[in-house]
Symmetry: C2
Subunit: 210 residues, 2 copies
DNA sequence: TGTCCATTGCACACTGGTGTGCAGTGTACT
DNA sequence: AGTACACTGCACACCAGTGTGCAATGGACA
């Protein structure tokens, strides 16, 4: 009873509890990734825990999915804002964005499937802020004439970003082609010429650190 | 008992039966399009029929979905083979293909959602022949240097074709931009330069007859 | 040693879908 | 008139998942 407010260490007990919670979340991504209709039981079992315990951490299935989505949005927004701050050209920024987004997108690819049916509304709502940031970047590219203008920025950004996620969710996602394919493909969609797109992407790939 | 083999007219009875069957199939596309998890009851109600009647025509839900998929594959394959026979350049062929595929893809867009979970395997299997035709077309484009070669033909065709379906399944699908966006976007993904892509697509749009 | 508490393993009620069985009804065809 | 039969409207049984309740259990901690 030496701590009134926020706990500093609280070593074993709460830590093992948050560990369980995190493990459930991590495993849920894998399990739902393979089968979006997997139940709380499957998730629990995969996490080495009983179904009842999962409900101890997440009162409902929706809570679990929402927590997952919040995590994803937080991580992706962090990447995008950080990359955006570099001040590079829009196409170079996009290439770097996709390169660094890739592991995150691949990890949370299940949200693409979960976006429809039952949880669609909740997920869609949480994705709002990220969508705006993307649209801003594409708009900047259109204004500086590096991106095509055959579609309004808001739509074009969604289409290109959707393609990245679609590729992350496809057979391509495993294997080394995934990230490269996603980056080049999305750049082409944005109207960047092939040679330039390839140069930008391979520049990213060969330089390990941004 | 005047007919042994195939029946010539068999006027009212069987015709009204096949009409019911067709109406169920048509309506199922709409209902499942809005909610891929809709049940046999919802489909029946929407078709002005009782759930029990749906089971009279399709022994199981899988039968219904399979029939729907077979229909889609048949229609899409017909479009592709017909367009392929024109002998035009690969990029022009692709543009025409998308333009004529659009209503079909939009109609059967639900298969994109149904492709995963439960019926995925069945649908994937039926899609095989179409995939080959697409890959052949893209290969031809790569060999004649009108399509990019940053990805193998089999994969590139899937990505571009997936984008068309994704757009058909998005908010863009309604409204006049849908078909144009799908065509231009997929052409860009295939490595066709922006100006050429736009020219090809708008040529399609302004010329009603192929 | 005794208390706290995350976890367990069972119980249950509830929901919502699937697929089947069967008696009835109206209508097209003979 | 009589028959065949698509459709109806009800009845089931079955399954799978959700969410809850509650009495153990066992390890961490004071």
């Amino acid at each position: 009873m030496c701590n009134d407010g926020v706990v500093p260490t609280e070593s074993s007990r709460v830590r093992s509890m948050t560990e369980t919670r995190d493990r459930i979340l991590d495993v849920a991504l894998d399990v739902l990734g393979e089968n979006p209709d997997a139940g709380m039981g499957d998730i629990g079992t995969a996490a080495g825990v009983v179904r009842r315990t999962v409900y101890g951490h997440f009162p409902s299935r929706l809570d679990l999915v929402r927590t997952l989505t919040e995590r994803a949005v937080t991580e992706m927004t962090a990447v995008l804002t950080e990359v955006n701050a570099s001040g590079a050209e829009a196409d170079a920024t996009w290439a770097e964005f996709v390169a660094r987004l890739w592991p995150v997108a691949h990890r949370y690819r299940v949200l693409l499937a979960l976006r429809r049916g039952e949880y669609g509304e909740a997920i869609h709502g949480l994705l709002g802020p990220l969508d705006e940031l993307l649209a801003d970047l594409v708009k900047r590219g259109q204004d500086t004439d590096v991106f095509a203008q055959h579609l309004p920025a808001g739509i074009l950004s969604q289409v290109a970003y959707g393609a990245v996620f679609a590729i992350a969710d496809s057979d391509l996602s495993n294997g080394p082609l995934g990230a490269r394919a996603a980056a080049i493909t999305s750049l082409l969609m944005l109207g960047v010429p092939e040679t330039r797109a390839i140069a930008l992407v391979d520049d990213q790939v060969t330089r390990p650190g941004g």
